[in-house]
């Protein structure tokens, strides 16, 4: 499912960046920072908002930079890895937006309808956070796989055909 490419060490570093940034966002921001800010929710309830804010900023940067790379004169190896990251981050942004909407709507409905605290937590956790966390784990696995491919000078086949260039060996 992947093709070998003879990438230079500099190309490997540039191809790894989108996956590295994507993974640090998922693992550090979405898991560790989220757990820490959620832990102090009773004292600083707004601190947890730093997680979606940071995540949207990082994802937006990857999407923007991928377009710049695609329009630039980088090698196919670098372009292909940024394209993989772009596609993944696009889906992740949709997922994050949907989760934020579900949680905001749920909190608003809970306030309007006077739902109990336990019921609200169960509903928002089950319908909002749980699917997001499961998707997050899948994305971490995919991100790690892309990192492995970039480190070993490999390219996903479907991307190669999309970003065709004669230097593929």
């Amino acid at each position: 499912m992947s093709e070998k490419y003879h990438a230079t060490p500099d190309e490997i570093i540039r191809a790894k960046w989108p996956h590295e940034i994507f993974l640090i966002n998922l693992v550090f921001n979405h898991i560790l920072v989220f757990a820490s800010t959620f832990g102090v929710f009773s004292t600083f309830p707004l601190l947890v908002l730093v997680v979606p804010f940071l995540s949207f900023s990082i994802t937006a940067y990857i999407l923007f930079k991928a377009r710049v790379i695609a329009a630039g004169d980088d090698t196919i190896f670098v372009k292909a890895h940024w394209q993989v990251a772009q596609k993944r981050n696009k889906h992740f942004m949709l997922l994050l937006t949907a989760t934020c909407l579900v949680i905001s709507l749920g909190l608003w409905l809970s306030k309007m309808m006077g739902w109990s605290k336990i019921g609200t937590i169960a509903l928002l956790g089950g319908a909002g956070l749980l699917p997001f966390m499961v998707s997050l784990l899948v994305l971490i696995v995919l991100g790690n796989d892309s990192m492995y491919q970039a480190r070993h000078s490999k390219l996903p086949k479907h991307v190669v055909s999309a970003v065709s260039q004669p230097s593929i060996q």
């Binding site: 960046w17 590295e20 920072v33 102090v40 600083f44 006077g114 109990s116």
Partner: protein
């Protein structure tokens, strides 16, 4: 240093700062007012518990105090007695999760009018539960609290009660259920202990205490003089 490198390290360092910062934030210290044995008497015949003065504070003030919204309901006992109550499903006091029920001091005649106006009626294990109209809910939230029932989420050792509240002035055992009531008339407090059950602490104004223990005296057995 490339921008990607700056983002990577920036996110990493920021995450560590937040994680370790969260550890350094001191936990909530239990306030005196959150403790069930911290009973104050603003006047000789009044009781102040959890920062609420019975007979003066309203359920709306209790909601602000507990930072929770209560569920208002009207209950009708099998004997036909009506009581307007507000139920807090989960309140965190002194790090202990508990449930709290407030009874509003509404005259019997008005309770009957509320009952007639009720929107929905549902059967409960012991009587009926009536859903009140929004206007009656507002009235309920603005009426002073006559009694507060505190149900801690854990089983508490009897020795702890003795240590914190002192020796009860009276102990009455219910004939039917076998539940034991430790009575502290000076505090308007009735602690119900039911063997393996979790304890229930009911606070009323000392002047109302005789009303509280009347049914107990009629249907119970006095274990202490």
């Amino acid at each position: 240093m490339s921008l990607e490198k700056k983002i990577y390290w920036g996110v990493g360092i920021f995450s560590f700062v937040v994680i370790f910062g969260a550890f350094l934030i001191p936990g909530d210290r239990p306030e005196q007012e959150d403790l069930p044995w911290h009973i104050e008497h603003p006047t000789p015949d009044s009781v102040r518990i959890f920062g609420l003065t019975l007979g003066q504070s309203t359920p709306a003030q209790a909601e602000a105090r507990f930072k929770e919204q209560a569920e208002p309901s009207l209950f009708k006992s099998p004997e036909g007695k009506l009581a307007a109550e507000l139920f807090f499903e989960q309140v965190n006091l002194a790090g202990l999760r508990s449930r709290i029920v407030l009874t509003a001091d509404i005259p019997e005649t008005e309770l009957h009018t509320m009952y007639e106006r009720g929107l929905r009626m549902a059967g409960t294990g012991s009587g009926k539960k009536i859903t009140l109209t929004p206007e009656d809910v507002e009235r309920l939230r603005a009426t002073p609290i006559s009694s507060l029932t505190y149900m801690p989420g854990v089983k508490v050792d009897e020795m702890l009660f003795k240590k914190r509240f002192g020796e009860p002035q009276q102990i009455i055992k219910e004939r039917k259920s076998g539940a034991i009531h430790w009575l502290y008339p000076q505090h308007g407090l009735d602690i119900t202990l039911g063997g393996s059950e979790k304890p229930v602490l009911q606070y009323v104004a000392p002047a109302q205490f005789s009303k509280l223990i009347q049914p107990l005296l009629e249907n119970g057995e006095r274990l202490t003089p």
